[in-house]
Amino acid sequence: MQLLSDHVRRDGTFQRSFVVLPAGPRKRGRVDKDADFTAYVAARGEALVRSTVLMGWSLPEAEDQVQTALMRCYGAWEKVTAADDIDAYVYRVLLNSLATGRRRKWWGERATEYLPERPGRDEADVVAVATAVRSALKRLPHQSRAVLVLRYFADLSEQHTAEALGLPVGTVKSRLSRARAELAADPHLADLPRNRIRP
């Protein structure tokens, strides 16, 4: 089994590499299961967190939710690995976790994204673009946002995006088309320097 692994370099570019999970019969030992799971978390953990942030969650919340989803997946790892597409399965679990997570802010504390003493980094352009894109994403309907992130950021196929969201493929296609049109008309993105969007 091969997994794409995304790492962000210091300059903000992605490094994409393959991680190979050991193949074998479905009923394997605990050690194999743990090794598979650990490899998957290492390969996919950060991409899952980023996807969750793009879906409108803050970074601490996203990390919390992804960990919860991964722990659920670990409990049924045999089912996960038996799935047609592991990513689609894990994203489905994550989306369910996000849906219930909205109701879990019981604790009085508010997680902040940055500690107060964190030194400021002068990355004005990156911050501006990222903020504009996230603002534009927030204006999209919840389902359209999820479709967009799964299809274009998580690189799931249309079929697997549909499976993760529990939607027909035709609905996924139409939502993608509509979401792209809405992004094109979004005022937040209209302010971006043109060279930030590759033609």
Partner: protein
């Protein structure tokens, strides 16, 4: 917008997310710890059904109303004293809010929490926590006593629950069981239960790794009898006012000697106001009892001497424009305490390398006028930082040339004209920036036109409409503060600047007096260090 453009945008947005790698082995360990309890749930449910059936069979012959009353009866037995007052069950003490008392174990501390999170078994008052840090969840029990108006109480007010009468008081009972993936201790499950009491406008909730603790504490709720009073929260009040408040409740006040022996909190303060009471806030005492008021007008704890002995240096950092100053104390190689004072009425104290962060509610007056001494425990050693109100005079660190430039720019902002623009604005154009983004430029021929300086906020810092650096500067009426170089926002990290302004000298002008950070703004002049032309003007605002 085509697919490749969307992919590129999402990639850019994701690249700004500073994730940390997840550790699969930690997740496996957490998941494994939870598994036995998950398997135990069906067994426990079956046991509960059996017990319930047995109880129902035993009480079958009784009157149904009696059965109903039994089910609502508290699980903690409350004894009544001979003078018809109340005595807590053995090993417990009473704490109260709005005339409702709860029996908690005597060893539970009061307000032993950081950032709204209980650090040990404790009773915590108030639930209006702002400017918090994320903390790992410890394996402790806590009773939270809050007003319905507190932000943290809203969750319980909204949540559906079972309405019942508890000791004659109408309540809504809410119960949940939670699992926290970020827990650092052995147990990751927390049982919680809450009582919402609309008639008293209060919400109380207990969180504990043990369901029995939740049931016992909440079940012990009862009205405080007439012969008893509840020690109020007197923190921050002048001693005379606190004494009067106690007298009006039928209690007597005595002064406690100093704050040196105060050891129930990570952060300690000594000031000319009440900083602690003995017994602590919320304690239920008999009328006529004596309550100690702890304050220390001038004496500092011995930790100040320790600081001096170790030749530790107190430096001032953070925002130089706000009336709240932040101090930091170097406590050794690579170790440092940073103390932030926020406008939300809290002091946030964080220490590098050690998981110490504390939020202590403070009255506004202490922020604004008094000198405050903060002590933090770092690796078992206490360190003290002294915070002083900011002096409002001109900053001696700003060269006179820049002070004159800012004054000329202020005069121009107050009454824009071509003549007034000639002194501060010697270049052919000035770039305008909104925070870290360049949004336009003003040409020399338009300098005198105030509209040319206007910047659309477009939800910048959650604001809309238009404003301009000239408007903001003119609103200061000449009472502004000048600083050179990078600066923080009112309460926050150093604000980034646009990339093409990085090499320029940055002169920040901010209001000298702000009641809160909502009134804060900053107009930064970016000056060419060689030609001394003002090449750009940026504005920043505090998010409401």
């Amino acid at each position: 917008m085509n697919e490749s453009q969307v992919r590129e945008l999402l990639r850019l947005a994701a690249s700004d997310v500073a994730t940390t790698p997840l550790d699969g082995e930690t997740l496996i360990a957490s998941s494994t710890r939870l598994a036995p309890r998950r398997r135990a749930v069906p067994v426990l449910l079956a046991a509960a059904v059996v017990v319930a059936l047995g109880a129902a069979a035993l009480t079958l012959g009784k009157v149904s109303s009696d059965v109903h009353r039994q089910s609502a009866r508290p699980t903690t037995t409350v004894r009544t004293s001979p003078d018809s007052g109340l005595l807590p069950p053995p090993g417990t003490r009473f704490v109260a809010i709005s005339g409702l008392a709860f029996a908690v174990p005597s060893k539970w501390a009061t307000n032993a929490g950081r950032c709204g999170t209980a650090m040990t078994d404790t009773v915590m008052f108030g639930g209006d926590v702002r400017d918090c840090l994320q903390l790992p969840m410890p394996d402790v029990s806590a009773l939270h006593l809050t007003r319905m108006s507190d932000s943290a109480a809203q969750e319980w007010v909204r949540r559906p629950g079972v309405r019942q009468r508890l000791n004659g008081i109408s309540v809504k009972r809410v119960a949940t069981r939670l699992n926290h993936a970020l827990c650092t201790t052995g147990r990751c499950d927390l049982f919680t239960g809450a009582l919402v009491v609309p008639e008293r406008r209060v919400v109380m909730w207990v969180s504990s790794p043990r369901q029995t603790t939740v049931d016992e504490v909440l079940g012990s709720m009862q009205p405080v009898p007439a012969q008893y009073a509840t020690v109020p929260n007197l923190t921050g009040q002048p001693a005379a006012k606190a004494t009067d408040a106690l007298r009006s409740l039928g209690l007597r006040a005595v002064s406690l000697p100093s704050c040196a022996g105060w050891a129930d909190s990570v952060v300690r303060m000594c000031s000319d106001r009440v900083m602690r009471t003995d017994p602590s806030q919320g304690s239920v005492v008999h009328l006529g009892s004596t309550v100690g008021l702890g304050s220390s007008p001038s004496r500092f704890s011995p930790t100040t001497q320790l600081l001096s002995q170790r030749r530790l240096k107190l430096t001032v950092s953070g925002s130089s424009s706000c009336p709240y100053r932040a101090g930091s104390v170097d406590t050794g190689p690579g170790n440092r305490i940073v103390v932030h004072m926020s406008p939300a009425g809290h002091v946030v104290c964080t220490a590098d390398l050690v998981p110490t962060s504390t939020v202590v509610p403070l009255p506004e007056s202490v922020h604004m006028r008094s000198k405050v001494s903060l002590t933090a425990m770092v690796s078992g050693t206490a360190y003290t930082a002294v915070l002083r109100p900011r002096d409002t005079g001109p900053d001696p660190g700003v060269p006179g040339r820049y002070r004159r430039l800012v004054h000329a720019f202020y005069e121009f902002a107050r009454a824009p004209s071509s003549a007034a623009a000639e002194v501060p604005l010697t270049g052919s154009s000035v770039q305008l920036a909104r925070g870290p983004v360049i949004v336009g430029a003003v040409m020399r021929r338009d300098y005198a036109d105030p509209k040319a300086w206007e910047v659309s906020l477009r939800w910048f810092r959650g604001l809309t409409g238009k404003t301009s650096a000239l408007q903001l500067l003119a609103s200061s009426r000449g009472r502004y503060h000048i600083s050179v170089g990078p600066h923080a926002t009112c309460v926050g990290p150093v604000a980034p600047v646009a990339r093409n302004l990085r090499g320029l000298r940055r002169i920040a002008v901010q209001p000298a007096h702000v009641g809160s950070c909502i009134d804060w703004w900053s107009v930064d002049l970016f000056i060419d260090p060689r030609s001394h032309h003002v090449l750009a003007v940026s504005l920043d605002l505090w998010e409401p």
